[in-house]
């Protein structure tokens, strides 16, 4: 059953990324997601990027559904169900947060809950960096592939430098799968625990259709946030995903 929420505010965050604010009484944890239905158009999963009463989805324009969502105005409605899945587990100690592109949407409410943290905000280019303003006071370390702002290069290289220099108790990451997959390897190498929020094509969102499964784990119910032990065992991470038909396909 869907709830209907009204869009209260729309914020341009970066190139092709907008945040839609709405009120809803659910109490999600950072890392959980909702299924968002645009009647007559599509339904797709969205992480929660603001978890207070004035909640938010931070949406990157990708295809038909997200493009349509970008055309919505304040006062328009969204149909949502959720929150679903397991969010991040917050552990005591020092955390390294590595967010790539719109992966920052998922990490943002976590960052606000963490006490002791270093933050990497990464993107291909300056105009794709998400939530720079939101976290300005936290002095995030910026990385861009093209060097248009901050560190030039991959977030993973920057993260490895930090891991070599500091003692972290947990790495939290969300971003493109190749980035997350590399981060898992790096965390393993440095013997640090890691939590990553994965993405897979989702149909049901409630753990019955198997379309989001990776190595037998359902991203929608067993994830989307997975911890080290399971991440280390996932042979499909960064390599294989399933098409909407359920057919395996190589990740390129």
């Amino acid at each position: 059953m869907y709830r209907v929420v009204e869009i209260k505010e729309i914020v341009d965050e970066a190139k092709n990324v907008k945040t839609f604010r709405f009120e809803d009484e659910s109490r999600p944890e950072p890392g959980q997601f909702y299924m968002v239905w645009l009647p007559g158009i599509d339904e797709f999963p969205m992480s929660i990027s603001y978890i207070g009463n004035l909640k938010g989805f931070t949406v990157k324009k990708i295809g038909a559904g997200t493009s349509r969502m970008h055309e919505l105005h304040v006062g328009d409605r969204l149909w949502i169900r959720g929150p679903y899945g397991n969010g991040f587990e917050i552990r005591a100690g020092k955390a390294l947060v590595v967010g790539g592109g719109s992966g920052m949407a998922t990490l943002a409410p976590l960052i606000e809950k963490l006490e002791n943290k270093d933050i990497i905000i990464a993107a291909k280019s300056k105009d794709e960096l998400v939530f720079l303003n939101r976290f300005r006071d936290l002095k995030p370390i910026i990385a861009t592939d093209d060097g248009s702002m901050g560190y030039r290069g991959f977030a993973t290289d920057l993260a490895e430098e930090l891991l070599a220099k500091n003692d972290y108790d947990m790495v939290y990451t969300c971003g493109p799968e190749p980035m997350m997959s590399a981060m898992v390897q790096i965390a393993k190498k440095y013997g640090v625990e890691i939590q990553a929020s994965l993405e897979r094509f989702m149909k049901c969102g409630i753990g019955i259709c198997d379309s989001c499964s990776i190595n037998g784990y359902r991203v929608c119910v067993d994830g989307p946030v997975f911890k080290s032990s399971i991440l280390f065992s996932m042979t499909e991470l960064g390599k294989v995903r399933r098409a909407p038909s359920g057919k395996k396909e190589e990740l390129g």
Binding site: M1, Y2, V4, M35, W37, P39, G40, D42, E43, F44, R77, W79, R81, K203, C204, G205, I206, G207, I208, C209, D210, S211, S213, N215, G216, Y217, R218, V221, R242, A243, P244, S245, G246, K247, K248
Partner: protein, 301 residues
């Protein structure tokens, strides 16, 4: 206490994962087997890859009543499915390959493929839309059902299960036409629909869908009772089974084993071991040594 032999297959308990629920990928099926299922039916596989219907494909009903789904028989296609079966078999429980088609030839083709992949049995999903009848399913055409079952029986050596639709007024007659099967599986989902009044549209992109979960349990129990009172072919019950009491209810109605689908959503994948424990508890309290003793007892008067 819970083990069951059916068509020469051994099930450590009578709780089999129903087709279409968490049984597309081999890895997931292994996980379900390890979580306690006595057997696994795969998602229904067709001869071609199908993406199914666009989202939304499911609609959750309130109060844990169940769901309506219109996944649209999404499946990777039989040709790429051998690998999944190979992995699924590692779960150590019988793996039953579900197949769907619209002609006897297609069913025979798919059944042979499945047998080649090493399944322990095949389950014929007879609920595809019927090419000729408006809104009808293949499974309501008695002649077609009979032909599909007998052709598949001739073509493979593994047991053949025929899964019937409840959306008919001729259930007994259809069951009779399918009685050459090694077991009849009752019931598939019930045709239903939900409209979101704020959207003024049906929720499912396909508009119509199949109802499953606790709300259809009385329909499934009735179907199992009616068919197993009339026929000798073993019956496998399915529809809304969520607890040990539900499973026993189906068995008392006449089912030799049961399948569990939507309950995985309601109680998680540990539902199989939970149901098994609940059954054992009831059996201990009621001095029942073997689940076999309960098959069909509610039919006596």
């Amino acid at each position: 206490m819970l083990s069951v032999s059916l068509n020469g297959m051994f099930f450590k308990n009578p709780l089999i994962l129903a087709s279409g629920v968490l049984d597309e990928s081999g890895d997931t099926m292994v996980r379900i087997a390890r979580a306690g299922a006595g057997g696994i039916v795969t998602k229904s596989i067709g001869s071609e890859e199908r993406v199914g219907y666009p989202n939304p494909v499911i609609c959750e009903l309130p109060d844990g009543m169940g769901i309506i789904n219109a996944v649209g028989l999404a499946n990777p296609g039989i040709d790429s499915y051998g690998d999944e079966i190979k992995i699924a078999k590692k779960g150590g429980v019988p793996v039953i390959g579900s197949i769907f088609g619209s002609s006897p030839e297609e069913f025979v083709f798919l059944a042979k493929k499945m047998e080649g992949y090493g399944v322990d049995a095949v389950e014929l999903n007879l609920s595809c839309p019927h090419a000729r009848g408006y809104g009808m399913e293949v499974g309501t055409d008695k002649g077609l059902v009979e032909e599909i079952v007998s052709e598949v029986k001739k073509a493979v050596r593994v047991p053949v299960w025929a899964k019937l639709t409840p959306n008919t007024h001729s259930l007994i007659e259809i069951a009779k036409s399918a009685s050459a099967a090694d077991a009849l599986v009752l019931i598939n989902t019930v045709r239903g629909m939900a409209i979101d009044i704020d959207a003024r549209l049906p929720v499912l992109s396909n508009r119509l869908g199949g109802l499953s979960g606790p709300c259809i349990k009385p329909i499934g129990v009735r179907a199992v009772y009616e068919v197993s009172s009339e026929l000798d072919t073993p019956v496998v019950g399915v529809g809304g089974i969520t607890s040990g009491r539900d499973a026993i209810e189906y068995i008392m109605a006449g089912a030799k084993a049961v399948e569990v689908g939507t309950a995985v959503y309601l109680r998680g994948i540990s539902v199989f071991s939970q149901i098994a424990r609940e059954m054992e508890e009831w059996m201990l309290k009621n001095d029942v040594g073997s689940i076999d003793e309960l098959v069909g007892v509610a039919q006596r008067r």
